[in-house]
């Protein structure tokens, strides 16, 4: 049949491909940054001009990821508006990053559901990928020092009070 040398080469090739596959899998599924790590800055198109994370250094940033077709996202909008209104003077900034592939979908949603906070657009999902988003909506809370405090996936009525308490605690931190 085959010579031992040839067989060994085939095994090596198979192992190489397996390693390659594994590496490719690891790259494609980016993990969320660990809590406490400094988050990378971003610049995304917004409703009026670019939205940069840099602009909000020193504030507690509630970075929300949403899409027009997502039901819980719709429920979270009034809550985020209320949070911005209530805690904005104390240093909270809500930035809602839209992940719709089509801007028209996002615009229709925003017309029906006015946002009392900053909205940015990331149709390619590059920022969502950086944060390793696992569900819709997801939020990342970035402390005044530019470090990630925590991440949260989903939104329901039970989350409101707990999230608000966490935001209040985050506002107290330097």
């Amino acid at each position: 049949m085959q010579s031992p040398l040839q067989y060994r080469l085939t095994v090596r090739q198979v192992l190489g491909f397996a390693a390659g596959l594994l590496a490719a899998t690891c790259i494609s599924s980016s993990a969320a940054p660990p809590a406490g790590s400094a988050v990378p800055g971003f610049e995304l198109p917004g409703v009026e001009g670019a939205v940069k994370l840099e602009q909000y250094r020193g504030k507690l940033v509630y970075l929300d990821f949403w899409a027009s077709w997502c039901g819980p996202c719709k429920r979270s909008f009034p809550w985020m508006s209320a949070m911005q209104k209530q805690y904005g003077p104390a240093g909270l900034q809500v930035i809602a990053v839209n992940l719709d592939a089509k801007r028209e979908d996002a615009n229709a949603f925003l017309n029906a559901m006015p946002a009392g906070f900053t909205v940015a657009f990331d149709p390619a999902g590059s920022l969502a990928r950086q944060y390793g988003i696992k569900g819709m909506p997801s939020s990342a809370v970035i402390g005044r020092d530019g470090r990630l405090l925590f991440m949260h996936t989903g939104f329901n009525d039970a989350d409101r009070a707990a999230l608000e308490a966490q935001l209040k605690a985050g506002l107290q931190q330097p």
């Binding site: 049949m1 085959q2 040839q6 085939t10 090739q13 198979v14 491909f17 397996a18 390659g20 596959l21 490719a24 899998t25 494609s28 599924s29 990821f65 899409a67 027009s68 077709w69 997502c70 039901g71 992940l99 719709d100 592939a101 979908d105 999902g125 969502a128 990928r129 988003i133 696992k134 569900g135 819709m136 997801s138």
Partner: protein, 78 residues
């Protein structure tokens, strides 16, 4: 004979490797890419009200055997 088998083995190995390499190019669908699935046309039922009504009828008929979901049934035994 020997050569034929060898060529067949090599071709088989190449086919497996090529197909495996193809797998690495497939990226899992990300949560924000599931907008199509959220459209009303993608529902299993045509009408939510009608589906709940059908489920209620099914529940009452099958009350003893655990109904349509995986939760406990009506018999109080599980």
């Amino acid at each position: 004979m020997m050569t034929t088998v060898r060529i067949a083995c090599a071709a088989g190995a190449a086919a497996v490797l090529l197909s495996a390499a193809g797998c690495s190019a497939i990226e899992p669908v990300q949560p924000w890419q599931k907008g199509m699935l959220a459209q009303p046309a993608m529902r299993f039922d045509r009408d939510r009200q009608e589906a709940r009504f059908a489920a209620h009828t099914y529940d009452s008929k099958e009350a003893a055997s655990g109904s349509g979901s995986v939760g406990g049934g009506g018999c109080g035994c599980n």
